[in-house]
């Protein structure tokens, strides 16, 4: 069993690289996902992952299958959509979800158009589904850097971010940090999606961000528990997903996300905090 799970990583360098990349992503993306979930912005990250496509495609058009070009392009497109949507939300009557939907649809359509201008179907599949088994040194540095920046960044804005989630009006009355904190958080979301799209592709980048976070909700009562649990679930998903994809010769990105999905389903069924079974088989109530 142990051998089945860890054998491929002992045996093959590319599997170890893939594991390191996924573990780095597991450190940074799930904490961001926890905040997305608690702010009821889960689907927003899905929209954002589509928004980075045209940037990556533009990078691909300019420089071919080059990591720095596609990363910079993705970051630029994602941040542009996040900032524009945030600006429209804060200055007009449109709510965040609607303005984001508008910009990401424009961005996605532009991206598909760009990819179809040049490049084959295989290139498109590469962008959409990632290439975790072909992570080179720069890609690993990028994932490690993103994890570092995310953890430090989240620590720096943690307090005002929590206040923005719970009581934005209160934060506005005592501080002007609300706006910058909101944009900084969107920046972290975009960064992690770009990192995820290196490993898992744009379509599945959201998976490792959200599924562990949502699963963690069933195990921990507050943020100090949810964040570590979500990281743990993401790491387990990475190991399981990579092994299974190797043993069964399946595409890696979907395997990792499906592993995370499996952890979510199990958590949803037997989780200690409001899991389904707990709700059905209720313990006798207390006296006070």
């Amino acid at each position: 069993m142990i051998d089945l799970l860890f054998g491929p990583f002992v045996e093959f360098g590319f599997m170890r690289r893939a594991l390191v990349g996924c573990l780095a992503l597991s450190l940074s993306a799930p904490p961001v996902g926890v905040f997305l979930m608690l702010r009821r912005m889960s689907l927003m990250s899905d929209a954002m992952s589509h928004a980075i496509l045209p940037g990556a495609a533009a990078g691909f058009l300019v420089a071919g299958l080059s990591l720095p070009a596609m990363t910079l392009g993705g970051l630029a497109a994602g941040l542009a959509v996040a900032l524009l949507a945030g600006f429209v939300t804060r200055s007009t009557v449109i709510k965040e979800d609607a303005s984001l939907a508008a910009f990401y649809l424009i961005s996605l359509a532009g991206g598909v158009l760009l990819v179809s201008l040049r490049g084959s179907q295989i290139d498109l599949l590469h962008i959409l589904f990632g290439s975790v088994l072909a992570l080179d040194d720069p890609a690993l540095w990028l994932l490690g850097g993103i994890a570092t920046v995310t953890l430090f960044g989240l620590a720096a804005i943690y307090r005002p971010l929590v206040m923005e989630c719970v009581d934005p009006l209160f934060l506005r009355t005592v501080s002007r940090a609300g706006g910058p904190v909101h944009y900084a958080f969107l920046g972290l979301v975009v960064m992690n999606l770009v990192g995820g799209f290196q490993a898992l592709g744009t379509l599945l980048a959201v998976g490792l961000m959200l599924l562990p976070a949502i699963a963690a909700r069933f195990w921990a009562a507050d943020l100090s528990g949810m964040i570590p649990v979500s990281v743990l679930i993401a790491m387990l998903s990475s190991v399981v997903g990579l092994s299974v994809s190797y043993q069964a010769d399946l595409p890696t990105g979907p395997a990792i996300v499906l592993a995370a999905g499996g952890f979510y389903l199990v958590s949803m069924l037997i989780g200690r905090r409001g899991g389904l079974v707990r709700r059905l088989v209720r313990a006798r109530h207390l006296e006070a």
Partner: protein, 294 residues
């Protein structure tokens, strides 16, 4: 302006509203330091809007609010509905938000734990510090918000319907807190609906119905005539209302005054400096003038 009293909140021809429709219309007056003022009026009278305006949450459509020396000293208790209570936050962390002005984003709140626990004890929530805010009842949650106000140690407290949906015992406890704050010389403005409560605890009252109906000692303000007039005034909402032609120019005072009793409270001073002159007083020169007390 130089004549604005330090520590006081002065309203200069203040108009606040949404989408150009005024919710508070040409309001003048002074809330002196240490005042205990009740804000009374029917629903839609502009009570919440006025509090939001004072705290700087919504911009003035016209006029201005002077609060010299108070920019960093105003605490505001909104109606509880605006807080996300499903967020997994402990009661202690909620109360600790009140420390923001002292701690900012990074300094540790650990040294202030005693302050936080004292505040919880003062509102009758001792032992609740580890509970999640989502598990509190409405009254307990309101007590927790008052604990946060205690921790803020603000010189001015704006309370928006603090006792709505709160039982008698909790209301009495929280009112005692308000009176204690008043005793410490803090300024308190509270939007309220319970007139009995206002009469027995609040020496001054502003009766608002978009315009000021009356402002002064509570027993002189809460007369049946004033209350009836507030009710009728607040019901006028006109989707196609004309642009307001009231200029508040210097010169013959109050020739444009639409409110018949306009009994200026003693603290409402009309300085000789002509501060009712608005920089854009002639913006609406061509529009037809309509009554506003409709």
């Amino acid at each position: 302006m130089s004549c604005d009293l330090p520590g006081a909140i002065t309203l200069h021809g203040l108009t606040l509203g949404y989408d150009r429709h005024p919710a508070v219309h040409h309001l003048d007056g002074v809330i002196p330091p240490g005042a205990l003022l009740a804000l009374v009026g029917p629903n839609g009278a502009g009570k919440s809007t006025l509090l939001k305006g004072i705290v700087g949450e919504i911009p003035c459509l016209e006029g201005r609010i002077a609060r010299p020396g108070l920019e960093e000293a105003i605490a505001y208790l909104p109606q509880a509905a605006e807080i996300d209570r499903s967020f997994p936050l402990s009661v202690l962390d909620l109360v600790a938000m009140g420390l923001w002005r002292r701690l900012g984003p990074w300094r540790s709140a650990r040294r202030h734990r005693a302050t936080l626990l004292d505040a919880l004890a003062a509102v009758g929530l001792a032992g609740f510090e580890a509970r999640l805010i989502g598990t509190l009842s409405g009254g307990q949650f309101q007590r927790a918000l008052f604990a946060r106000l205690i921790v803020q140690e603000a010189r001015v407290l704006l309370l928006d319907e603090p006792f709505t949906g709160v039982d008698g015992r909790t209301t009495a406890d929280l009112l005692a807190l308000v009176r204690a704050w008043h005793g410490q010389g803090r300024t308190i403005v509270a939007a309220l609906h319970d007139l009995g409560q206002v009469r027995s605890h609040f020496p001054h009252t502003l009766l608002l119905a978009r315009e000021r109906v009356a402002w002064g000692p509570t027993e002189r303000v809460l007369t049946p005539q004033n209350l009836a007039r507030a009710q009728s005034l607040s019901e006028a909402w006109d989707e196609d209302a004309a642009v307001c032609g009231r200029h508040e120019e210097p010169g013959p005072p109050h020739d444009h005054d639409h409110s018949p009793d306009h009994d200026h409270s003693p603290d409402h001073d009309h300085g000789p400096d002509g501060r009712h002159a608005h920089p854009h007083a002639h913006d609406h020169g061509a529009v037809r003038d309509r009554g506003h007390a409709a």
